[in-house]
């Protein structure tokens, strides 16, 4: 069966520091991969998605970037965090475009 791992589970970072969140999927090949942010009391906002290695599409212009160095690895990064980057970051995968997405357990990011 397929599993998705995200780490760390929680992270507290100072304003202006860099960020790297990692997501890996096991048990499948060439998945679609997604990064979402979920603000308190609100739905999920799609940040990036990837249909293959090195292929990244950005949905929202912002202080973040994403990379996919390997087939089942997806990384969310920032060079300098802003207070507004606080939130719950979720990684998801799907087998194909018309298949449902499956989520990891997220990273809760707090910026001080």
């Amino acid at each position: 069966s397929q599993t998705i791992h995200q780490w760390p589970a929680t992270l507290v970072q100072p304003v202006g520091s860099p960020l790297s969140l990692e997501c890996t999927v096991e048990g499948t090949s060439n998945p679609n991969l997604y990064w979402y942010r979920q603000a308190a009391g609100r739905g999920l906002q799609l940040l990036f998605y990837s249909v293959g290695i090195g292929q990244i599409s950005s949905e929202v212009p912002q202080n973040l970037s994403a990379s996919r160095p390997q087939d089942r690895q997806f990384i969310l990064s920032s060079k300098k965090l802003l207070l507004s980057d606080s939130g719950f970051y979720l990684c998801a995968w799907s087998k194909e475009d018309n298949q449902p997405q499956h989520f990891g357990d997220g990273t809760r990011l707090s910026i001080l």
Binding site: G43, Y49, N98
Partner: protein, 114 residues
């Protein structure tokens, strides 16, 4: 107007009650519909996935889609305290530049008390 509207609740029901959760949407291109359950501090977990109009049942859960009214529902029978969570509806269209991109409702917070 949001593409997907979902009453955030909160909704509080006694154990054993039938729960009805609903979403309306405005984009007629949406063809695939999902319900996710999200426990506190966890990622959303897929509950139901439907493509066509009509009903789909899985244990105590029934998903209903009415494309003519742009309305989807999730029914939970014999609700349990363990069903207490946030329920998110989600949908996406087929074809075009939005293919496969999920649009979520805001989520409904459900509490089932013993």
């Amino acid at each position: 107007q949001k593409e997907v509207e979902q009453d955030p609740g909160p909704l509080s029901v006694p154990e054993g009650a039938i729960v009805s959760l609903n979403c309306t949407y405005s984009n007629s291109a949406f063809q695939y519909f999902m319900w996710y359950r999200q426990y506190s501090r966890k990622g959303p977990e897929l509950l139901m996935y439907t493509y066509s109009s009509g009903n789909k049942e899985d244990g105590r859960f029934t998903a209903q889609v009415d494309k003519s009214s742009k309305y989807i529902s999730l029914f939970i029978r014999d609700s349990q305290p363990s069903d207490s969570a946030t329920y998110l509806c989600a949908m996406f269209s087929a074809g075009g530049t939005s293919y496969g991109k999920l649009t979520f409702g805001q989520g409904t917070i459900l509490t089932v008390h013993p």
